[in-house]
């Protein structure tokens, strides 16, 4: 399973994106990214939790207590309206940059 380094800033985007479909706890976020990337991207806890704290500070997500699938009390992170706005803005920007890069890669 090849490990890929995450480009800076991308982690926040991915976290916000996986939270769009509903609240998740920290481990589930890492798992979801791992699975959805066909096991290419691997989110270390050493980068996940600092990123989550930063997102909490920005107010893009809130944390609330819930019960995990293993029946433990754990914190779920939920996207806030600002978080959604931020996600859309970042997606938009990412798409344009991505297209630009792709077109360069195709034609050059």
């Amino acid at each position: 399973m090849p490990k890929k380094e995450m480009p800076p800033g991308a982690l926040v985007l991915l976290i916000l994106r996986v939270l769009r479909s509903g609240a998740l706890h920290g481990y589930a976020i890492a798992q979801r990214i791992h699975v959805l990337s066909s096991e290419v991207l691997h989110v270390e806890e050493g980068s996940l939790y600092p990123a989550l704290q930063k997102i909490l500070l920005k107010g893009w997500v809130t944390a609330e207590w819930g019960i995990s699938e293993t029946n433990r009390k754990v914190r779920f992170y939920r996207l806030t309206p600002e978080g959604l706005k931020q996600l859309e803005a970042e997606l938009d920007g990412y798409d344009r940059v991505n297209e630009a890069i792709q077109s360069v890669l195709r034609t050059a």
Partner: protein, 817 residues
Amino acid sequence: MSQFLRRLRYLLNRRRFDQELAADLEFHREMAGGIRLGNTLRLREEARDAWGWTWIDRLGQDLRYAARKLRQSPSFTITAVLMLALGIGVNVATFGFFNLMFLRPLPVRNPGTLLHFWRQAPQNLADNFPYSEVAFFAEYSKNLSAVLAASPAKLKIGSEEKLLNASFVTPNYFSELGAAPAVGRLLDPQQNEAPLIVLSYKFWQSHFAADPSIPGKMIHLNNKPAIIIGVAGKEFSGLGLGGPDLWASIAQQIYFTSGGEVQGVQMWGRLRQGLTPSVAEAELASLAARLRQQNPKDIWENETLPSQPGGYAASIRPEMYPVFAIFAALGLLILGASCATLGSLLLARGVSREREISIRISIGAGRARLMRQLFTESVVLAMLGAAAGLILGCLAVRGLIAWTDSPAWLNPAPDWRVIAFALGLGFGAAILFGLTPAWQFARQKVRATKVRQVLVGAQVASSCVLLIVAGLLVRAVNHALTTTPGFDYDHVIAIDPGLHDPTPAQAAEYFAVLMRRLSLVPGVESISMASNPPLGNRWSVSKTNVNGRPVNIHFNNIDPKFFQTMDISLLRGRNLQPGDTNQIVISESLARIEWPSADPIGKTFSKDIVVGVSANARLVSPEDSDAVEVYHLAQQDLLPSMVVLVKVSGSAEGIAPLLTAAAKAVDPKLFPEIQLLKSSYSQKVDLAEYASLTVGLLGLIAMLLACLGIVGVVAYAVAQRTKEIGIRMALGAKPTDVLSIVLRQFATPVIAGLLVGICGAIALSQVLRGQLYGISNLDPIAYLVSTGVFAVAAAVAALFPARRALRVDPMLALRYE
């Protein structure tokens, strides 16, 4: 903004947030099956970093560690705190005074909106007004909600000899300043018809034994009946430092002093809400122009009315800057000396902590982190020192206020400005004494001698400056006490008749009678008149440069017998004679500066012709060696403001009562003031004596600090080189060789420090030029003696620990290690 609030919420619930994070991580680890076992603590710390509060935790750690370290070595801590307390305390005391005088508002209602006005015209400047002008402003000004005025006068109470200080004020004075009476009532703004008196609290206590039934009593002021209506509160400050003994309405001034129109009135205004002083100034200037059309005699052409904030005990004037500068420089020198001493103490202490530091570096402490920790220690020390210095400085202010019998409202308790000043100084000091050693430790280069040498040099330089300045002041006082200032002050008595605005003819008549009566008093040798009496509080001076030298030209208007009365010899030319109008006599030093090689007689000096040259006599300011004199013959129109000078044979004290009686007999309505020039002179010299005492004390403290520092560093140098000394002694080195090994490294910094100190003293003493009673600010004796004393003290301080080097036993030294 909301981000800031979230951040703040995090800070307040730090513990809970941290526990939640820990729980998250634990759960994550469980789910992941514990595959990767990183450092959880470290991970938590990194995650927490996002909130930006980690520095608080680090600061807490550093502070706790610093406190522990300082508690471990109490003798070091106490020494350091005492040194800092001394250095900071001196500065806090000076700043405390400055604050009381210039920065702290007076305890009156809304001091911030009060303005103090003065008058200015292209050719004129005065801080007082004719009352008619003030009354005009009060009536017509729209930008000032109130105009206040006060006019000082000396009054006789009952049949007592001593005159009291009265202040005639506008009747709104008390209500506008929000004053409350201690007893009875204060002046009523609506009513000023009757001669009503308000006593000051102090005068009420000293003169009327704090009699609570005083309102309604009648007293006689200048033989006129007046009714006391009340006593002002103890805390009432009025609008300045010199509080009067009593107040009365300004409308009543003529009644008491039986003079003409009231002149010499100080004026304040209260600015309306939201206006700037310049608006009021412009309005008053246009009002003044309007008044000039009705009354061209009293109002100047193009008169403007600049203002200053009025709600302070005193206002800052540009000529005070050098005085402030010299006080600040002296205080900072002491602080500099204590910081330098402390710096070398810290360095010496660093040696004993080398092991601790190297252990901490080897287990991974970063250099920046280490430096921050060491600097925190210094800041803790400095804050302790600042607190102690604050107490010390405030005690000094309190002591001086008690000693000088200051008004009761002058509150010496430190306010936020003084506290902030002390803390700021403490922090600055921490940077001075703490940063270099911290940097050195963290780089593990404690043994570098360079820094120590620089510190010794700085100590030497700063204490040297203080000692030299003290030496100059001591010389000046000594000179003032042993030489004459160029005139005879021992046998001359000044009589200020206090005339009430007479015409020149009336004044001439009065003086003729007065002089005839005085000349009949046995023991009177000579009588003269001058417009500016020697050592008095009136002068007219022009500060200029002549041929590149600063000179302060003092003008005086005299009669022909002045030189004889004051015992000033005429060196060349002739005396002033009746009929002279633009002829002048100038003093010798002015002649020499203006015409170094030519004969001054017959030359023109600013439109006047020099007819004579007199010996130097610094009549008004004997302390100012740049003072020169120009004498005019007093013309008729100046007579109303002349002062009589009487030279007597024998003791001036003995004859003074006779002269007083003679002067009083001329006109019972007048109350002349008698002043012995002898006592004026000794008051002036006393002031210089206090100054030299204070600076001398500071100099000694600085010298002591410097010597302590030298003892410390030399003792350290001996300890450090014990082995080397042992080997050299074993090889046959002589005691002088051994001493030179230890002391050589300090010779250069001491000499360099002395030189820097001398240069600093030369620069600083430039400001003192005008205060040295004719002693040059480069006086070689003061410089030689001061540096000599310092050199001896430094040598003793260095030899004292250096002797230890001579007692090194070569065998023991070699066996060591």
